[in-house]
């Protein structure tokens, strides 16, 4: 399985602090994606990083990818209470070009005001 696994399972921080979540996966990938899910809602795509990229930024989000270690990290800087959500990494299913993704179990982030 190429399923990514996030670490930690839960993270609790104060507003203004940075939040770092990690994702490890098992086999070669051509991209890795991060998604966010607010409680009781669907997932929202945050950022996609390709295998030939090492770092990517989007607003307060910074994603890194280390293909040699088969790991990725998502950093949220200057976190806000509104960032409270579950965060998932997703990797394409190996050998397929049909767009299916494997999702990890997620990191539950709580940001306290």
């Amino acid at each position: 399985s190429q399923q990514g696994e996030e670490d930690p399972q839960a993270l609790s921080i104060q507003e203004g602090e940075n939040a770092t979540m990690n994702c490890s996966y098992k086999t070669s990938i051509n991209n890795l994606q991060w998604y966010r899910q607010n409680s009781g809602r669907g997932l929202v795509h945050l950022i996609l990083i390709r295998s030939n990229e090492r770092e990517k930024h989007s607003g307060r989000l910074r994603v890194t990818l280390d293909t040699s270690k088969k790991s990725s990290s998502l950093l949220i800087t200057a976190s806000r209470a509104a960032d409270t959500a579950s965060y998932f990494c997703a990797t394409p299913w190996g050998g397929s070009t049909l767009g299916r993704l494997y999702f990890g179990r997620g990191t539950q982030l709580t940001v306290w005001p």
């Binding site: 994606q33 997932l43 070009t97 049909l98």
Partner: protein, 115 residues
């Protein structure tokens, strides 16, 4: 913005009933997916489709079927609902042209309870 609409947010059905979960997307996406999400298990793929009338089994297709008669609509069918199918069901869609690099767009989910 892409909109993926699931017909019901909450659904309560009895064991043995036939259940239809409907999903419609408005951005002419080729790919559509059905996932279920359970605490501790994350998202698991049930079925997906990359074209009208085409379907592919995901990781947990048992007890489910799907229908894609029109490009914008992808239906998940529980032929005979059972209590272990109580779950959050998430529909998603993505562009087909660059499939492996296309992000998924999700609906808000249907929370199904089977009693």
């Amino acid at each position: 913005d892409v909109k993926v609409t699931q017909s019901s947010r909450y659904l309560v059905k009895r064991t043995g009933e036939k259940v239809f979960l409907e999903c419609v997307q408005d951005m002419d996406h080729e790919n559509m997916f059905w996932y279920r999400q359970d605490p501790g298990l994350g998202l698991r793929l049930i079925y997906f489709s990359y074209d009208v009338k085409m379907k592919e089994k995901g990781d947990i297709p048992e007890g489910y079927s799907v229908s894609r008669e029109k490009k914008e609509r992808f239906s998940l069918i529980l032929e005979s609902a059972s209590t272990n199918q109580t779950s959050m069901y998430l529909c998603a869609s993505s562009l087909g042209r660059d499939r492996d690099n296309s992000p998924l767009h999700f609906g808000n989910g249907t929370r199904l309870t089977v009693t």
